[in-house]
Symmetry: none
Subunit: 406 residues, 2 copies
């Protein structure tokens, strides 16, 4: 069994980097705080005798040799970047559970047949640089390295510049080859396990996702001297898009999700009619056909708004992946580990995207969920109990041992 | 008649101070560039033999003696501060037209019965330090000097500190006493004159205004893993407010105006359900009862949104003044001057607030509008033609002569 106290202390130590006043974390990808987080994680991995390397998009790999060191590794981990008002658990729980698995194996001098690679993927959150799951996406061939490095944040800085600035641009020669399996432990980020009273979610797949950026452009003018009928108010078009996205998701229940999370208004001055509004659109569903229907309804909505306003509407897709079904052997290893630990568990589909979603395109993969209080995540109030954190890491340990062989 | 070329050259000369790449001006109140603008204007006034003084909030007064120098003065002017992406005309047209009136009287050696005071009010725009129309507001008793000087910019600098730093804090003993009349020439900042093909707007009053800040608070949660029916999405409440403000204004046509100009979403991340949205609300009407009806409908809207969502809604008033009706004698002087000049003109109500709005509380006042291209203002592309600028200054000259007596 893993050492729950040691794992909890590691979580709290990492959470001091980018700690927010409300008890959360703001350690966005490729910032100075991300650099500090990477440095601490690297130090911890090296203390366990692991060989730490970075690939060209900055993914961290830390290798523990196997008895058969030429065998394909079992890869375990997640990400340590956070949302601007993120919590302390999210991806950190997965990375530090992986570290705790290795610390436990080292402490008990347990050799595995296959090597084990701890991984910490770059920019999973995608809030500073879209798309999310950038590091695992590049690794799995979802997007090219060049494309990823050219993405810009709101200040116009590219991901490549930011990665260089924090000194973590590595070399793809450092990548491990094919994975025997990939396991990722994560908080659920939703309310299902807590409501059901289960401690472990055996994740069988993930909702498909389509992201878009929409820009509506009208004309800036003085809010006092411009009569209502002469306005080209970009914000009024934007409200129709925001409400339409909600309606489109409500038409595909229970699995449809539709969200506008980010809004930028220009010039954003109280006595100027909005000239330009940019919206981020997030559509999800467990069923590929239903997701397609949602995307079509969304396109139709934009055409409608453009047709009966004097606004121009531009749309750019920023992320797109189909519903994912994880590997049956990996799922079985997780389920058996939960059973063996005596943990109440259930099969669950992930509403959130995870690095495992992309990795499952190129390797057998599965995930382990633990509850998070009230389902709150991407929020400074995010909380997972020490008991659940310990349970999740124990399931990761035993599933890893099953897949890596002792 | 005034000298249109000389006036145009003065406008272009002042516009070199804080000129922007896109042909506009960024000469915000109480900055080093404002200091340079004040210096140039002072030099020009002194060259005309005017006595230049500053009051405690930094308003500039430049006096041309009257035949009866104990008579109440006719005061003419506007402001020279600009928006961050402002134009070259806005308030500068009014101040430099006043200077051109005086230059013309001097050139033709015309003595007026009453003294004439040129005024340039401090911080009309209110973009660096709220509220707008600060200098005329203090002068007219809308806010106290202490309150105004304590207002802070985004960097935390007070208006008092900034005024000291540029060396233009004067003494209220320098203020002229009661005004016989106040006239302000200004670009319309709206599309009405251009659409009508009129060169002069005889401004009979200004819309009343009520400004509010509204904050809607829900709960941040993950956009992928949070089912639609468990959300508290602050942005969906905000869209109802935005649309409601538009509807409330449309119900009070033709004079009702309702605008949400500024929107802040938190945490503003593409995969987080919006927790908090702040909106700026701008309601205007020419009729006090109609403006009150709009404000009541707005309050009712907020209550409705709060009642049938699980959001909390907070509202703070940030500005409030009633519709203004300018002085009939001043209006008549402007109308007759337009007629005498042979300019196509029409009565118009100002949609924007102006220094004249506050001054009209304490003195007979009116305004002269000229068209601005496509109604565009508070924008680097702002443009008024030399012909219209000349026409406006001629109307100011003749209305001033009527009110000051020859
Ligand atoms: N787990 C997680 O928050 N991933 C970010 C991508 C998503 O929005 O699902
Ligand atoms: N003229 C002008 O832009 N004044 C600012 C106050 C307003 O929004 O009307």
């Amino acid at each position: 069994a893993i050492d729950g106290d040691r794992l909890w202390q590691a979580l709290m130590a990492l959470a001091t980097i980018g700690a927010t006043a409300k008890g959360g974390n703001n350690r966005q990808a490729l910032t100075e705080l991300d650099r500090q987080g990477r440095e601490l994680l690297t130090r911890w991995c090296e203390a366990e005798g692991l060989a730490v390397r970075f690939d060209a998009i900055g993914n961290l790999f830390a290798r523990r040799a196997g008895r058969d060191d030429t065998a394909e590794p079992v890869v375990i981990g997640s990400h340590i970047d956070t949302q601007p008002t993120g919590g302390k658990y999210d991806g950190c729980f997965g990375v530090l559970s992986a570290l705790e698995v290795i610390r436990t194996l080292n402490a008990h001098d347990i050799a595995t047949q296959r090597p084990i690679e701890l991984v910490s993927w770059t920019n999973e959150e995608g809030c500073r640089f879209a798309p999310c799951m950038m590091g695992s996406g590049v690794f799995a061939g979802q997007l090219t390295l060049e494309d990823a490095l050219a993405r810009r944040d709101a200040e116009g800085i590219t991901a490549g510049e930011a990665l260089e600035a924090i000194g973590y641009a590595g070399d793809d020669a450092n990548r491990p080859g094919r994975f025997a399996a990939y396991l990722e432990a994560h908080i659920e980020q939703g309310p299902i396990l807590e409501e059901a009273g289960d401690r472990i979610g055996v994740v069988t797949g993930a909702l498909g996702l389509k992201w878009f950026d929409v820009t509506l452009t009208g004309m800036a003018a003085h809010s006092g001297s411009t009569p209502m009928d002469l306005r080209h108010n970009a914000l009024l078009g934007a409200t129709r898009v925001i409400e339409g996205v909600d309606r489109i998701a409500l038409a595909q229940q229970p699995d449809g999700r539709g969200t506008v999370g980010a809004v930028q208004v220009a010039p954003n001055s109280r006595n100027v009619i909005p000239e330009r509004v940019t919206l981020s659109i997030d559509l999800r569903h467990s069923d590929e056909a239903a997701l397609k229907t949602m995307a079509e309804a969304f396109q139709h909505l934009l055409e409608e708004v453009e047709a009966d306003s004097e606004l121009t509407v531009e749309v750019t897709p920023t992320a797109d992946y189909p519903p994912q079904y994880f590997d049956t052997d990996c799922i079985a290893a997780v389920r058996e580990a939960a059973q063996a630990g005596g943990y109440a568990h259930r099969d669950i589909v992930s509403g959130a995207g995870h690095d495992a979603v992309f990795i499952s395109d190129i390797a057998p993969a599965a995930m382990i969920f633990i509850p998070c209080e009230k389902g709150i995540s991407h929020n400074e109030a995010e909380y997972a109990s020490p008991e659940d954190v310990t349970a999740g890491a124990n399931v990761l340990l035993h599933a890893t041992l099953t897949l890596a062989g002792v």
